[in-house]
């Protein structure tokens, strides 16, 4: 690197995640980090992407990031808004979603996600919100992308609860359960890009973000990290990507303060 990169790890995460989305994707958007990435894709290289939120908004193009999945902004800017049962039955279960984009409180190396409880289900240490749409997004979307910032609490050897099924115990576990979709095919963190090993399905680092070391990735991950042969360096954010993200965040902050 010629000079210190002038972007934060979180900005790199959002931008790297946005790049994975294509112009013709139909993306079921989770709230939080996925929502930012999906809208950056729409505002940069994928202007025609269809963004769907579980509140029923199809083809939405919010000017500011929604605080919740049901903000009025999503409906105002959508092509159409359908009832919630229709959303889950026709559009998700019907196989229309190419990418389900999820965040996670806790994830394991096979892309299984826990957003239900920390500790035992019947007497939890921390009661989390639960699955919402995720259990079926994880199995009915053609593919699943996951994004979260790395931490030992978040990336664990064994999750406390299987809210949303990824690759289970790895290998052909999905097929054995009769799940015919691909499941998690991409994990983007604030430090790296991960893809499942073709055979074991364990998430493997394929690209390190600029300036990130292998040690940093391992220190913030609860399982022993596997690195792919020929790990690449993630291209740094372009000026356009960075400016688009910062503008969006600034508009969002201003809007939620006054609202």
């Amino acid at each position: 690197m010629m000079s210190k990169p002038e972007f934060t790890p979180n900005e790199m995460m959002t931008i790297a995640a946005s790049r994975a989305l294509k112009n013709d994707d139909v993306c079921f958007v989770g709230i939080g980090a996925p929502s930012a990435a999906c809208n950056i894709a729409r505002l940069t290289h994928a202007p025609d992407i269809t963004l769907i939120y579980e509140s029923g908004t199809i083809g939405t193009a919010p000017d500011v990031l929604p605080l919740s999945i049901g903000d009025g902004e999503l409906c105002d800017t959508a092509l159409t808004t359908v009832p919630v049962p229709e959303m889950f039955r026709y559009w998700l279960q019907g196989g229309r979603i190419t990418i389900g984009f999820l965040g996670a409180a806790q994830i394991d190396k096979y892309g299984n996600i826990n957003t239900t409880v920390i500790g035992d289900y019947d007497s939890p240490r921390t009661r989390l919100p639960g699955g919402g749409g995720a259990p079926e997004i994880a199995t009915s979307s053609q593919e699943v992308y996951i994004t979260l910032a790395q931490s030992k609490r978040g990336m664990v050897e064994k999750i406390d609860f299987y809210t949303s099924f990824g690759h289970g115990d790895g290998g052909d576990h999905r097929e054995r359960l009769g799940i015919d979709t691909k499941g998690p095919t991409l994990l983007v963190t604030d430090l790296a890009i991960w893809k499942p090993d073709p055979v074991t399905k364990e998430f493997t680092v394929v690209s390190l973000h600029p300036g990130v070391t292998r040690d940093q990735v391992q220190e913030t991950c609860g399982w022993t990290v596997t690195f792919a042969d020929g790990v690449e360096e993630t291209p740094p954010p372009t000026e356009l990507e960075l400016a688009t993200l910062r503008d969006l965040k600034a508009r969002t902050e201003a809007a939620h303060k006054t609202a």
Binding site: P129, T139, S164
Partner: protein
Amino acid sequence: MARFVPLPQAVAENLNNGDSVAFEGFTHLIPTAAAHEAIRQGFRDLTLIRMTPDVVYDQMIGMGLARKLIFSYAGNPGVGLLRRLRDAVENGFPHKLEIEEHSHAAMANAYEAGAAGLPCAIFRGYRGAELARVNPNIKFIECPFTGESLAAVPALKPDVVFIHAQKADRKGNVLVEGIVGIQKEAVLAAKRAVVTVEEVVDDFSDLHPNLTILPHWTVTDIAVVPGGAHPSYTHGYYARDNAEYLKWDKIAADRDLFRDWMQKNVLDATPEDFAGRVEKLRDA
């Protein structure tokens, strides 16, 4: 034919101790005023049903109204966790709360089955999901035609459903628009339905023909409560009060702070107070 009655009467004459009740709304159109009225009237042993229990369910659980919660996502949308719910589940305060937990797809299908008069809903769901292990109301059946294993959950048929809507006409037909959520299905699945509305208009003759209208004979009672969804929003009337959701996180974190807030803003308040709360949020 729906009756137009004051909210306290609508709640008193439709809700009973021990009822299964849904105050539905999917982020939009949450019937906060009706829930606050239920809190003021001090109901007990309720089975609270809702896909997305948020602040107002946190309030009802914290005030001890609920015996059981049937839900699919219990969070403060965009903010975090529900702290009164956590206190009930993790510490049994103010008392133990039974929970029956589903996914959104399951709840949406279960309301639809209730509206359709079916005993259960069948859908492709819960594959590999651990909720199927902890919730005995999640079962799997084999498709008689293809042999595919499909999830089944009991239909939701609440004793009473409360929703908030934009407007009613003089006959009591109700218009819901914007993010319509699960409200139509919930109303048609329930034995009794109470609707709070922003306003009453003479008739709906000038509206688009495909809007979501609940005919007056599907609604038990209507109460006019301007601002009745606050801090949620009513599309076309006022915006979501995001600052209130952010504030709730601190209020609900402390038992005494919570109790004081409820005393001042709910127990000592009236349905008429809602109009003032949305004044600064009204569309220009």
